[in-house]
Subunit: 146 residues, 2 copies
DNA sequence: CTTGAAGCTATAGTTGCTAGAGACATTAGC
DNA sequence: GCTAATGTCTCTAGCAACTATAGCTTCAAG
């Protein structure tokens, strides 16, 4: 049996985050010691590692919730899991495209800054006028998490 | 003089967002009409467009605050603005590297899903065991905003 | 047996907005 | 001039996914 600090260290998740996951129902309520401290077994550790890994891969907690409920029913077809992963992949590809454009734009800005005064600074100038941009980096794509 | 909805439309920023920017001091308090509605001139529109553009490029509101105060003092050297832009570029490059690794991992996961049952699903399996990964996509990089 | 680390609960804060309620202002059509 | 639709006002609360703080209790080592 592991304390919360121990599984946290093993799974690479901070202690308050584990308590948070329990609170929102991603992890089941842990058993308690005589002194009211949470105790975890190997299954809990695996589940936490699963969550951590999925978070690393950029899945939202909602997606992870779905994936976990899928993995809890191993006799079902895996179409749903595949769909979640594909959606995530598509999302990552969108972010990649956008970030690539942003990188180009920022490089242009930075290269042109000659170390003069703000009045002549291309960084400020480019930010003030989108028409100076080469790429169309409009329309966000809300780059959340990972 | 433009109403809040008009500059919002022109700058591509939603009305409540403009009020929010005013609230946190990114935009100065707008003048008011007889009926207490906010009215904006060209300077306000330019400032808002600046903010919008910088947000598009992934700058945080804090960075934008700094950039705005720089652009308000055009006689200063532009080293600071350059530094902010370079930091942003570095951040974007870090995210790009990470997202590229994630994409590879997700592609591996998705390709291997054969349409069987969850029990055999590589998506679930890979998420449960980091050692099945080829890349090291650990250590977040908190992918905030753009 | 004492000390210090680790654990507990509960609440509030973070970032960058977005949504809702209920009241007032403005504008377009008739 | 009137009415209806749209726009704007303030205020509060909510979103993700945590993180931090305060003030307490429990545990393990020396």
């Amino acid at each position: 049996m592991l304390t919360i600090g121990k599984i946290g260290a093993q799974a690479g998740v901070k202690v308050p985050t584990i308590r948070y996951y329990e609170q929102i129902g991603l992890l089941p309520e842990a058993g308690r010691s005589a002194g009211n401290q949470r105790l975890y077994g190997r299954k809990a550790l695996e589940r936490l590692a699963f969550i951590r890994h999925a978070r690393d891969l950029g899945f939202t907690l909602e997606a992870i919730r779905d994936l976990l409920s899928l993995s809890d029913n191993p006799e079902q077809p895996c179409v749903a899991a595949d769909a979640i992963a594909r959606a995530q992949l598509a999302e990552v590809e969108r972010r990649l495209a956008r970030l690539t454009a942003l990188k180009a734009e920022l490089e242009r800005m930075v290269v042109q800054c000659a170390g003069g005064k703000i009045a002549d600074c291309r960084v400020i100038e480019v930010l003030g006028d989108h028409s100076l941009c080469s790429t169309d980096h409009r329309h966000p794509e809300s780059e959340s998490s990972p």
